[in-house]
């Protein structure tokens, strides 16, 4: 009859493999439940339920308050205009750098990447110093030079906010479109030329429709980021009582002194904000699923460049001017202010000194904040990297029932504004669940960061896992490796580069984060972003600038290291 050895008996019905897969799947569900579902549930629960059960009162109260409606209206207005202008600027420069023969492309591209690294709220700080209606340096210059009575420009306005957001968000469109243009098969355009179309017709009828999916993807990214954005409107808006929903939520909680009622009110406002964002996401889904990416090849080809001829010099000057305004001016301003002895003094060499740097470093809070930010970014990076990879593996390779739920859950925090997420985290971890109180500790910020950045690493790992053909793991199983061994020997080494870049995708934004931590920090848990923010809030503007310079320097150095590391990774 049959000879059955013990191993075969132990492996009846392939339980071994199943159990390994099952454990991973269950771990995945539990972690996502804790990190993502609980905070979201807490917001909904607190917004819709009070002592007497289900009630819409709290929500309706918020909708009845004109201040909130104004904030909602402002949020939408700013987001829509930022999207329109950001898209125009992004597409124009993408085409200029991707398809024309404009000189100095390399330098310009490098400069266009700076807004990507530069925290927008620092940009808002710089512009406020230049263009606020009372004491802005540039405004005062205009007033004295042209003998004006009133400041000609006022950055503390809706349009000011739109302007600053555009200058930090247009790279979303720029980068998407540039890469689409570069990956586009040039023969598609050449065929149109051969068929008798003029250059301008080709751009209108061939190039633009082909990159339309990239444009709409980038534009909607701007829309959603702007709807949820906290930094710029809070720096520029508070003074003129211009609120957006995220800043209104912050103000409500701040004014209530962090009381439970204030936080509940914040939760109700969050529901309002989520509704607005959800509508934007629905539009995004509609538009993106209609897009067709098939014509764009993954292979890189050399596109034919369009000669600008007579317009070359004017366009070059325009580009230089744009770069000067959006990159150089705010950076220079922050640096100059960081050296000035007191805010308001003219920017002349006699008024410069290192005293702000000395003061900042004499402040114990500074060192603490840098340390906190480093601890938070590194640990959020590592934890989210592993958790994201785990989710990606389960979704891509194990494909259990409900893997779609897993995927959506892990992507959810990405579409939820950071402010809203913070409120959920506060509601969840201030004793409401098993009496666990993390409030005022670094842990609560860490939990929020993990939820917020999880999707970053999940996306990169997922893309990389898709490239790892399942036959590679199967081959190692057939060679005698157990499931866990083949994971360790084959799959993990192959996706390691993606995991590393996933880590840095989390680490860098976490270093300059302010939206989430501003609602979560406690006396000893200020982050770098929060510390700069509160120094400025307290009026220590030159010191805030000095710390900002340090932060920017830190981010740039780290970014250079990252690009260096990720560049020479082995291709799979």
């Amino acid at each position: 009859m049959f000879t059955i050895d013990n191993n075969a008996m132990a492996a009846i019905d392939g339980k071994k493999r199943l159990s390994m897969d099952k454990i991973l799947t269950i771990v995945c569900f539990i972690l996502l439940f804790i990190v993502v579902i609980i905070p979201i549930f807490m917001i909904v629960f607190n917004a819709f339920f009070d002592k007497n059960g289900f009630s819409l009162n709290l929500i309706l109260e918020q909708f009845a308050d004109k201040k909130n409606l104004d904030a909602m209206w402002n949020t939408i207005k700013i987001a829509v205009f930022a999207t329109i202008f950001g898209t125009i600027v992004g597409v124009f420069y993408a085409w200029l750098l991707g398809r024309s023969d404009i000189p100095a492309k390399g330098v310009m591209r490098a400069l266009f990447n700076i807004p990507y690294m530069f925290p927008p709220f620092l940009g808002a700080m710089a512009w406020e110093l230049l263009l606020n209606d009372r004491s802005g340096y540039l405004n005062r210059f205009f007033m004295t030079t042209f003998g004006l009575e009133k400041a000609p420009l006022n950055i503390n306005s809706i349009w000011g906010i739109v302007f600053v957001e555009v200058s930090y968000y247009f790279p979303f469109v720029f980068m998407q479109v540039v890469s689409a243009l570069e990956r586009m098969d040039p023969t598609l355009e050449e065929c149109a030329r051969i068929a008798g179309a003029k250059q301008s017709t080709v751009i209108r009828k061939i190039t633009l429709p082909l990159v339309k999916p990239a444009i709409s993807a980038g534009a909607l990214l701007i829309l959603i980021s702007s709807l949820a954005h906290f930094g710029v409107p809070s720096i520029l808006g508070f003074r003129q009582e211009i609120y957006t929903l995220p800043t209104r939520i912050y103000a409500v909680i701040y004014n209530s002194g962090g009381s439970f009622e204030g936080i509940r009110q914040g939760a109700a406002l969050s529901v309002m904000l989520v509704i607005v964002v959800a509508i934007a996401l629905l539009i995004q889904n509609r538009i993106l699923s209609a897009g067709n990416y098939d014509i764009i090849k993954g292979k890189s080809m050399r596109p034919t460049l369009i000669k600008l001829r007579a317009t070359k010099i004017p366009l070059l000057l325009l580009s230089i001017f744009t770069l000067f305004i959006i990159v150089i001016v705010p950076l220079a301003m922050i640096i100059l202010i960081s050296f000035v002895k007191a805010y308001g003094l003219p920017l002349v060499p006699e008024n410069f000194s290192f005293v702000n740097y000395q003061r900042v470093f004499a402040n114990k809070g500074t060192i603490d904040s840098i340390r906190n930010s480093l601890i938070l970014s590194v640990s959020a990076g590592v934890i989210s990297m592993f958790l994201g990879t785990l989710v990606a593996y389960v979704v891509q390779k194990i494909k259990p029932k409900g893997s779609a739920v897993l995927e959506v859950t892990s992507m959810l925090p990405y579409s939820i504004p950071g402010t809203v997420l913070s409120i959920g985290v506060i509601l969840a971890w201030s004793g409401a669940i098993f009496g666990i109180t993390l409030y005022n500790t670094l842990w609560i910020i860490l939990v929020a960061y993990i939820a917020r950045y999880l999707s970053f690493s999940m996306k990169t790992s997922s893309a990389s896992l898709m490239q790892v053909s399942s036959s590679l793991e199967e081959a190692s199983r057939a060679c005698g490796a157990s499931h866990s061994e083949s994971l360790a020997d084959i799959t993990l080494p192959l996706i390691r580069p993606a995991m590393v870049s996933g880590f840095f995708l989390i680490f860098l934004p976490a270093m300059r984060e302010v939206t989430t931590s501003i609602l979560l920090y406690g006396p000893y848990t200020r982050t770098l972003g929060v510390h700069i923010y509160s120094l400025r809030d307290a009026g220590y503007i030159p010191q805030a600038a000095a710390l900002a310079v340090i932060a920017i320097g830190l981010i740039m150095v780290l970014n250079i290291i990252v690009t260096h590391i990720t560049k020479d990774r082995k291709g799979v």
């Binding site: 053909s469 081959a475 199983r477």
Partner: protein
């Protein structure tokens, strides 16, 4: 005693049945080619054998060792089955050097450290890859990666090696070489090879025996290549194994006729006792021959020189048929020119029912 045996194996993906109650025996030390059109379930069969897919019913065994038995609830995990596998996409691990790739199975099977390298080098020697031992797979051509995959499958001396379409991605010349090499390696090691392909040409070149799998997942014929070519059990096998002409038949005034523009008496066709009414006559291209004494006439519409033979397209009363003339015949009897009316004769005809719908070749 047969070496690999599938008995009554049923496999499903969800509700989709790939094959049901499939039985197949692969003899010890032979090269068995499993051929069938794309999507017929060949790869699923391999996955069942390897333990990557769990069948619904049946039993799979190698010799006396049961790998899977649905009734006895036995399912040996993949890593314990000790089957060598060469995947269609090679599945050479891109982050390991050639040598590391080949050493990996030895490490996992807990071979002695000092033996591992020697054995791996020996396996590489057999596929002529020793000088590439420290290369990464990305530095190798498709054919070379292929060899690495073969070396890796053979290195532990597995008794059974499965090759799933291993040479489809290679160019014609390399394909030829690899087939010869697989044959040589098999001679040296005496392993049982189950070779999966949709390409009947390479199957014919390589195999000891063939198993033909239909689109519905049934294995319709198992036998040597000669048996299958000369004595196909059904129309599917006949058409799958080589090119052929199909001419509709009808019985008209008690005479078997070709049902073309008009009914042409099928004179000189050996019908035997077959009732051909409403059937198709299938003839291989080289079984259509010029014979000017034949009353069946056709017009030459084109002629293509293929190096070792001529291929003709003929118009037989409105139906296009193909004819293959060997160089020897061309030399002895001359070639036919386009526009010429020629007499044709059909030898070795097979009669099968008409196809219900357009399927197969």
């Amino acid at each position: 005693m047969s070496n690999v045996s599938f008995s009554n194996v049923t496999a499903k993906y969800g509700k989709n049945t790939i094959f049901s109650n499939l039985s197949l025996e692969v003899k010890k030390g032979e090269i068995m080619c499993l051929v069938g059109p794309s999507g017929c379930g060949k790869t699923t069969l391999v996955r069942c054998l390897l333990g990557l897919h769990r069948p619904e019913t049946g039993r799979i065994a190698i010799g006396d060792t049961v790998l899977f038995d649905a009734e006895k609830r036995i399912n040996v995990p993949v890593e314990k089955r000790k089957i060598g596998i060469v995947f269609q996409d090679y599945a050479v691990w891109p982050h390991m050097t050639v040598l590391e790739n080949v050493m990996y199975p030895l490490k996992k099977r807990k071979y002695k450290k000092e033996m591992i390298k020697d054995r791996a080098m020996h396996a590489l020697e057999q596929v002529h890859m020793t000088k590439y031992e420290s290369h990464l797979p990305s530095q190798l051509s498709g054919g070379q990666q292929q060899r690495v995959a073969i070396a890796r499958a053979l290195v532990t001396g597995a008794e059974v090696v499965v090759m799933d379409e291993p040479i489809t991605n290679l160019d014609a010349k390399l394909r030829e070489e690899m087939l010869l090499e697989i044959r040589m390696i098999q001679n040296n090691l005496g392993a049982t090879i189950l070779y999966i392909t949709h390409d009947q040409q390479s199957a014919l070149e390589l195999c000891d025996r063939l198993a033909v799998m239909q689109l519905d997942g049934k294995i319709c014929q198992v036998g040597t290549d000669e048996e299958i070519i000369t004595n196909p059990v059904n129309r599917f096998t006949f058409e799958f194994i080589g090119n052929s002409n199909a001419i509709p038949m009808v019985v008209y005034e008690n005479k078997p006729c070709f049902e073309l523009e008009t009914n042409i008496p099928a004179e000189g066709v050996d019908i035997g006792n077959e009732n051909v009414d409403g059937k198709d006559m299938l003839v291989r291209l080289n079984d259509v021959v010029f014979d000017n004494s034949s009353p069946i006439k056709a017009e030459v519409t084109s002629r293509i020189f293929l190096g070792s033979e001529y291929n003709y397209f003929l118009n037989l009363y409105g139906k296009e048929i193909r004819l293959q003339q060997s160089m020897l015949d061309a030399k002895n009897n001359g070639i036919a020119n386009v526009g010429e009316m020629v007499g044709v004769k059909f030898i070795n005809p097979h009669f099968y029912n008409k196809l219900m719908n357009k399927e197969g070749k």
